[in-house]
């Protein structure tokens, strides 16, 4: 059991090394990204600039700077921002994580529930008008840019219909921590949850339907039907159970990517101070320490989610389990 864990760790380290080198390289390839000039201020003389460059170590060779940054990020854990000097990077990421987690967890609940509903309803009535309607809507959901859905949702809930009975409860954009006011937390996140979930409801509904329809063609379902089991029982006890395997592995990967910062656009549109927005802002201000930290964080999540999915897959799928 130890070896696969070690292997995963090695893989994670490799991926993180690769990404950090890429990010570091990209950053120093950008003209004007020189942090010394920004730190020195808008009217600094070249002399002052040179001093700032020296005191921050920007005049050292890049590999040395890279090593120092990694040392500060992972070992000393006191890396600070280039833009808001003195601001520690790690606490900021740790503070942003619950926001992203709140957003993604809530959206995940919605998309799992509705994804299953859509998939099951469509598969159970396959070929019918309901099936076609649901599949069409799912594809529409998959085809909408999430930031646009968010903008339109803001237009409706914040402006056009804000004073109507429908949306008067929607608070202004932003995030209220769960610990501070659970009800506000909930109210503020409902619209972002739905916005983020729409795409995945469509995606999961379609995949689940396809799997269910395929499962219906398997021998064991035919046998079950021949035994006279009810349609509902066949659906829930047999077909759904096997179809959920794909569903679970998809879920793991998507969840990992979203928690890792993939919900960036939703966070930007709804002004949620999560990891995605933190990354986006860091990228906009070219704040290398922040970019480094958030990107490292997100790659950990993606690799971690992959590992969990692999293990869950082996555990859920008897074929894989028996083979080993």
């Amino acid at each position: 059991m130890l070896l696969p864990v070690l292997r995963r760790l090695a893989e994670m380290l490799f991926v993180m090394l690769g990404i950090s080198v890429v990010v570091f390289g990209i950053f120093f390839a950008t003209p004007g990204a020189d942090p010394a000039a920004r730190i020195a201020g808008r009217n600094a003389t070249p002399q002052v600039l040179a001093q700032v460059r020296h005191s921050f170590g920007f005049d050292q060779p890049l590999p040395v700077q890279y090593a120092k940054m990694m040392d500060k990020l992972f070992i000393k854990r006191d890396l600070t921002s280039f833009v808001n000097r003195g601001q520690k990077v790690i606490p900021a990421v740790i503070e942003a994580a619950p926001v992203t987690l709140s957003l993604v967890l809530g959206a995940a609940v919605i998309w799992v529930v509705f994804g299953i509903l859509v998939g099951v309803a469509a598969a159970a009535t396959r070929g019918s008008l309901l099936d076609r309607g649901l599949m069409f809507l799912s594809l529409v959901g998959v085809s909408m840019p999430v930031f646009w859905v968010g903008s339109v949702a803001n237009l409706l809930t914040q402006s056009r219909w804000h004073n109507s009975f429908l949306f008067h409860w929607v608070p202004g954009l932003g995030y209220t921590p769960l610990t501070q006011d659970p009800w506000m937390w909930f109210k503020g996140l409902v619209i972002p949850w739905i916005t983020l979930a729409i795409l995945y409801i469509g995606l999961y509904g379609r995949v689940l339907r396809a799997n269910l329809v395929e499962a219906y063609q398997e021998d064991y379902i035919r046998t079950a039907r021949a035994k006279g089991l009810s349609e509902a029982r066949i659906m829930f006890r047999h077909a759904l159970r096997t179809s959920l395997i794909t569903f679970v592995s998809m879920f793991g990967l998507d969840f990992g990517a979203l928690v890792g910062g993939g919900a960036l656009l939703t966070e930007v549109v709804f002004n949620l101070p999560g990891v995605g927005r933190l990354t986006y802002e860091a990228l906009q201000t070219l704040d290398l320490p922040f970019i480094m930290a958030t990107v490292m964080y997100s790659s950990v999540f993606v690799v971690f989610a992959n590992a969990v999915v692999d293990i869950a897959y082996a555990w859920l799928d008897p074929r894989v389990r028996n083979a080993s």
């Binding site: 070896l3 696969p4 292997r7 090695a10």
Partner: protein, 324 residues
């Protein structure tokens, strides 16, 4: 006096590496062939039989250098070809060819039949396009296929027809040696006979030499002049087909024969059933590899590996206590 062998195999060994250093269980060595020696004489049909997994297909592929061998030598027309590079091997391809077991898998589904059969002619490039077309028609006639089939795709043919296509392709370069790797095992019994007849006709017409691999003794009986029986990566018995089938010297050969009703009907022979499952080639038993399943096994069999020793009527048997 015997003519010089067309093909001589000397103490050939082949291992497969399974798994990876980085995965659970680490690397495992599968000994597919161990110290196999064999001569094939011009114009003969050498049957190669054994259970699946005994290494007969591996041997066939090693002969054609589709697999790299670990030790030993392969001499074709007295020339050592066991270490020749792929490029230098190309002229030799014209002289030795293979017919594959699965006529479905061995034909690229996206290419027309004419294209598939002409491939070796074009690659070896001795004929111009008109010559290629003429040769194609000739080959189609040889394997009893209509010329208009050349424009069709593999999926439009039955299994038997596809095997004829495979044979035509193997014959295209007029080789002197053909390794037929279970060419009929995937076919219906009625079709099997037709294909075997085709093989025999072709041999008669062109004086071909076959190494004919089968897991079924009844097939070997129809076509092979000599038969080699393989068990767990080694040859256990080798001799004239009639002698091997009627007076098996190795308990394993006897066991194989017992499993075929039509061979046991004519003469009352002791029915020998091997005990248990074949052992894993990853972890072969010491001593005589058959001892774990042999009803006659004694202490010596567990300790000492029997050599393939020449016996009566030009036969060789690898057994401490041969039956005949």
């Amino acid at each position: 006096m015997t003519p010089p062998p067309l093909l001589r195999i000397e103490t050939l060994s082949k291992n497969f590496r399974l798994g990876s250093r980085f995965r659970q269980g680490g690397v495992q060595i599968l000994q597919a062939l161990k110290n196999v020696s064999l001569d094939v004489y011009p114009g003969e049909v050498l049957g190669l039989v054994g259970e699946s997994g005994c290494g007969k297909s591996t041997l066939g592929r090693c002969i054609l250098r589709l697999y790299e061998i670990d030790s030993g030598r392969i001499l074709f027309k007295n020339r050592d070809i066991s270490r020749v590079g792929q490029r230098a091997l190309r002229p030799l391809r014209a002289e030795m060819q293979m017919v594959f077991q699965d006529p479905y898998a061995s034909l690229n589904p996206r290419r027309r039949i004419g294209d598939l059969i002409a491939e070796p002619l074009r690659v070896h490039g001795t004929l111009n396009e008109a010559g290629v077309q003429a040769r194609l028609l000739e080959l189609m006639e040889l394997v009893n296929l209509a010329p208009d089939h050349l424009r069709r795709y593999p999926h439009e043919f039955s299994g038997g027809q596809r095997q004829r296509i495979g044979i035509a392709r193997g014959l295209a370069l007029s080789p002197s040696l053909i390794v037929a790797d279970e060419p009929v095992s995937a076919l219906d019994v009625s079709v099997q006979a037709q294909i075997i007849n085709l093989f025999m006709d072709l041999q008669e017409k062109f004086g071909l030499t076959y190494v004919f691999i089968a897991h079924d003794l009844s097939v070997v009986r129809q076509i092979a002049t000599r038969t080699a029986v393989m068990y767990l990566g080694g040859i256990v018995e080798l001799g004239e087909t009639d002698a091997v089938l009627h007076r098996p010297a190795h308990p394993y050969t006897a066991a194989l024969i017992s499993a075929v009703p039509e061979l046991t009907l004519d003469e009352a022979k002791p029915r020998i059933m091997p005990q248990g499952e074949p052992p894993s080639p990853i972890n072969p038993p010491p001593g005589c590899r058959f001892h774990t399943r042999c009803p006659f096994a004694q202490e010596r069999c567990r300790a000492e590996i029997p050599a393939l020793a020449p016996g009566a009527d030009g036969r060789a048997v690898a057994c401490h206590f041969p039956l005949a």
